[in-house]
């Protein structure tokens, strides 16, 4: 277990997105089949499929490379990831036409309207979720794989 720690860190980071994405795919297709006005689900998959697993893996790799210097706990390191993901995801969603910004709120997938007042609580919820997932799941995987 003393070889290839960077590869193991990348794999440990990939674990959660690779578990959640199939569930998300199934749920998305199920919801779209039930809606009268189907939303552009395939376009919405580009960011979660292409960018999110890559960023999770690289983010864990970054923690492995820096935590001896920074002494930053993995929970706080993981909680910082939404600071990168939110602007990236918003840019990609706007570019793909699945997010439209209005006067009072933003509409995702032509169906889900979120007032701007809710953006900050959503952001806090994402940070809390990331804090807990990175602390208990990614941290556990890092210990199992012998890199923490």
């Amino acid at each position: 277990m003393s070889t290839h720690p960077h590869l193991r860190a990348y794999i440990a980071g990939l674990f959660i997105p690779s578990l959640v994405l199939p569930v998300m795919l199934f749920g998305g297709f199920l919801v779209r089949s039930m809606l009268q006005d189907p939303f552009p689900f395939e376009r919405g998959l580009i960011f979660p499929l292409a960018f999110v697993p890559l960023l999770w893996g690289l983010w864990n790799l970054l923690w492995l490379c820096t935590h001896e210097r920074t002494r930053l706990p993995i929970s706080l390191h993981g909680a910082l990831l939404p600071l990168l993901l939110l602007p990236m995801g918003t840019c990609v969603a706007t570019w793909l036409g699945i997010l439209s910004l209005g006067n009072t709120g933003a509409t995702w997938f032509h169906n889900v309207f979120v007032p701007y007042a809710w953006i900050a609580p959503c952001y806090c919820a994402a940070i809390v979720g990331y804090y807990l997932i990175w602390k208990y799941v990614v941290g556990f995987l890092n210990r199992v794989l012998g890199i923490a």
């Binding site: 889900v112 919820a125 809390v128 979720g129 807990l132």
Partner: protein, 74 residues
Amino acid sequence: MKERDEERITKLLQSALPPVSADAEPGRDLWPALLRRLDAKTVAVPWFDWALGGALMVFLALTPSTIPLLLYYL
């Protein structure tokens, strides 16, 4: 001068530390106890994390429309 100091320190250390006897091992095998302790080790979740998890669940229950967004950004 320096060598004499070193000899004096060596003698002082030897006189201060008790000699190790031949039967200096513990009376019982400690390895099984260590294995039991490792097996029994559980993750203690602090109250702060329980509170954060609970607040997150309440938020998602109150605003289910935000769940797809959070999954999108996951």
